[in-house]
Each structure stands twice: as structure tokens, then as C-alpha cells.
């Protein structure tokens, strides 16, 4: 009897995991924060985001964010020290907010997101996540991550894995 109850509880947890998927989550959770470099078709050449990002010889992290959550990301990034080890850039649909020394690039039609192969969130619209670029200007990792501001240590982990 205990086994049957456990099986039902696990089924409910499975259902809850499905129902609590957020609008910014990847519709296929297997591709959200897999934590491994060079998944599927990667590595791929990284398209220029600014005139000097990415640049040969230095890794880069391209964050994709939305205006509503951008201030929190900008507030959190300086404390991570990521900028010392990689070029940082933020891509948003509308670059109406600055981010200190970190360049913010406008991508209203989603061309950059497409060029970086960012997957579409469950509810559609621009992605929230990031791509990790190696020193040869190749995309080695990309993921949707609606909670990226709270999980910046993961970005560090993926950067150090290059």
C-alpha cells in the first residue's frame, strides 16, 4: 500500500512540475540549465553583439533579459566579478535602461536572440537567459534562465568550464 501511495505522490509531483512551469521557462525543460558545454549542435560561431564583443582571446557572456528584470541583473552582476574574466553584454528588446559599465544592446526584432540560437520561452516573446562564448568566439553554452540573477554562480561555473 505504501508503494502505491508513493507512486501516486510522485505522479502528483510530476504534474506539479509541469503545471508550475513559468512563462519564461523553456518549454522543454531538458534544455534549461543543463549545465554542460557543447550540447547538441554547439559549439557555433558567435555573432557580433557590439563592435568588440565577442573578441578573440577573451571569453564573453551575453545575457538576454527584459526591461522589467534588467535592474536586478545589473545590480547583482558587479558583485560576481564575472566582468574580470569575461566581457559582459546585455541584450534586451528595448535598451531604455542603462547598466553601468556593462553595455546594453537593443534587439527589438529578436535577431540577436535568433543568431545566438536562444530558445523561445513557454509563453513566447524575447528570451531571458544567457550564452557563454569562449576565447575563440564560439558559443559553447546557452540556456533560458528566468532566475539568472539568483543563479549567477552557475554562470561562473560554466565560464570556468571553458
Amino acid at each position: 500500500m505504501v508503494w502505491v501511495v508513493a507512486a501516486v505522490v510522485l505522479g502528483v509531483l510530476l504534474l506539479i512540475a509541469q503545471l508550475t512551469r513559468g512563462p519564461l521557462d523553456d518549454p522543454d525543460q531538458a534544455y534549461q540549465r543543463p549545465g554542460i558545454l557543447d550540447l547538441a549542435v554547439l559549439p557555433e560561431p558567435a555573432a557580433p553583439v557590439t563592435a568588440d564583443i565577442p573578441q578573440p582571446g577573451r571569453p564573453a557572456i551575453v545575457f538576454f533579459d527584459r526591461s522589467a528584470t534588467l535592474p536586478a541583473l545589473c545590480h547583482a552582476l558587479p558583485d560576481t566579478g564575472l566582468g574580470a574574466d569575461a566581457d559582459l553584454v546585455i541584450v534586451t528588446p528595448a535598451a531604455d535602461i542603462g547598466c553601468g559599465a556593462i553595455p546594453v544592446v537593443e534587439d527589438p526584432d529578436g535577431r540577436l536572440a535568433d543568431a545566438y540560437g536562444m530558445r523561445a520561452p513557454a509563453a513566447g516573446g524575447p528570451p531571458v537567459g544567457y550564452a557563454v562564448i569562449d576565447a575563440q568566439s564560439r558559443i559553447r553554452y546557452r540556456t533560458l534562465d528566468p532566475t539568472v540573477t539568483a543563479e549567477l554562480s552557475e554562470v561562473r561555473t560554466m565560464l570556468e568550464a571553458l
Binding site: 507512486a7 512540475a17 558545454l37 532566475t147 561555473t157 568550464a161
Partner: protein, 143 residues
């Protein structure tokens, strides 16, 4: 019920309690990292593997394995072990598939629903094995 039986039952309950506390803790930890999907994958894979092994061992010994939930918990910990490394700052690599397919199990068609069905199938197998053992009075653990 003899004193010996009572002690054995209490011991089993203690293991059950430890298992439940551990799994609830792990589940909440994964939830805290917005990673329920990953918890479920590794749990189903670990539990299904444990149930398969438990079935084989039970048939071989002609009696149930002791403390079955310990087997499930241990297999789950093996399956999720690379996530401990990830939390400590080590990215995932394909060799981590050594831990019950830690990477590639995420990408099976049907994703976690497939693993849930595999888990149910192995659970059914284990219960079938238990039902056909000659002496169920010696069974250890719940169920």
C-alpha cells in the same frame, strides 16, 4: 508481536523516516534552484534502477531485500551525484553519465513522463516478485 519483531519494525520505520526526510530535503533544494524537472529525472532513474536490482536480488535470495527504501535513496544519490559537484562549481561533462546516465537521461523522448512510466513498471515488477516469494512474513520494509 515479539520484542524482536517490534525492534525490527521500529528500525524499518526509522529508515522510512530518514528516507522521507532526505527526499523532501532534496526536493525542496531542487525547487529552490528552480530545478524540479532535474530532481524528478534523477529520482525516477535512481529508483527504477534500485527496484530492478532489488527484484533480481530478491529472486536470487528467495526473500525480500532488507530496508528497501535505503536502496532507493542510495540509488537516487548516485544518480544525482554530479549535481552535488555542480553546486560546488564543477560543470557537467558527458562522463558523468557513469552516474546512472546523469546527463543523457534528461533527453529521452517523453522526458520525465517516460521515466515515471519506467519507474511504475519496475515497481510493478518488484511487487510481483515480492508476491511470489515463498515466505512473505520475513519481508522487510513497507508495502
Amino acid at each position: 508481536m515479539s520484542v524482536r519483531d517490534t525492534i525490527r519494525a521500529l528500525r524499518v520505520c526509522l529508515w522510512c523516516l530518514l528516507f522521507v526526510v532526505m527526499e523532501v530535503g532534496l526536493y525542496l533544494s531542487y525547487c529552490g534552484h528552480d530545478a524540479r524537472f532535474h530532481y524528478l529525472t534523477h529520482f525516477f532513474v535512481g529508483a527504477a534502477t534500485a527496484l530492478m536490482v532489488m527484484s533480481i536480488v530478491a529472486v536470487g535470495r528467495r526473500r525480500p531485500v532488507p530496508y528497501p527504501l535505503v536502496w532507493l535513496g542510495a540509488a537516487h544519490l548516485v544518480a544525482m551525484f554530479p549535481d552535488f559537484l555542480f553546486t560546488a562549481g564543477t560543470a557537467h561533462y558527458w562522463w558523468m553519465d557513469l552516474f546512472l546516465g546523469h546527463i543523457s537521461t534528461h533527453f529521452v523522448p517523453g522526458r520525465n513522463l517516460t521515466w515515471y512510466l519506467v519507474f511504475l513498471a519496475t515497481l510493478g515488477l518488484y511487487l510481483l516478485v515480492l508476491s511470489r516469494l515463498p515466505d512473505r512474513s520475513r519481508a522487510a520494509g513497507p508495502g
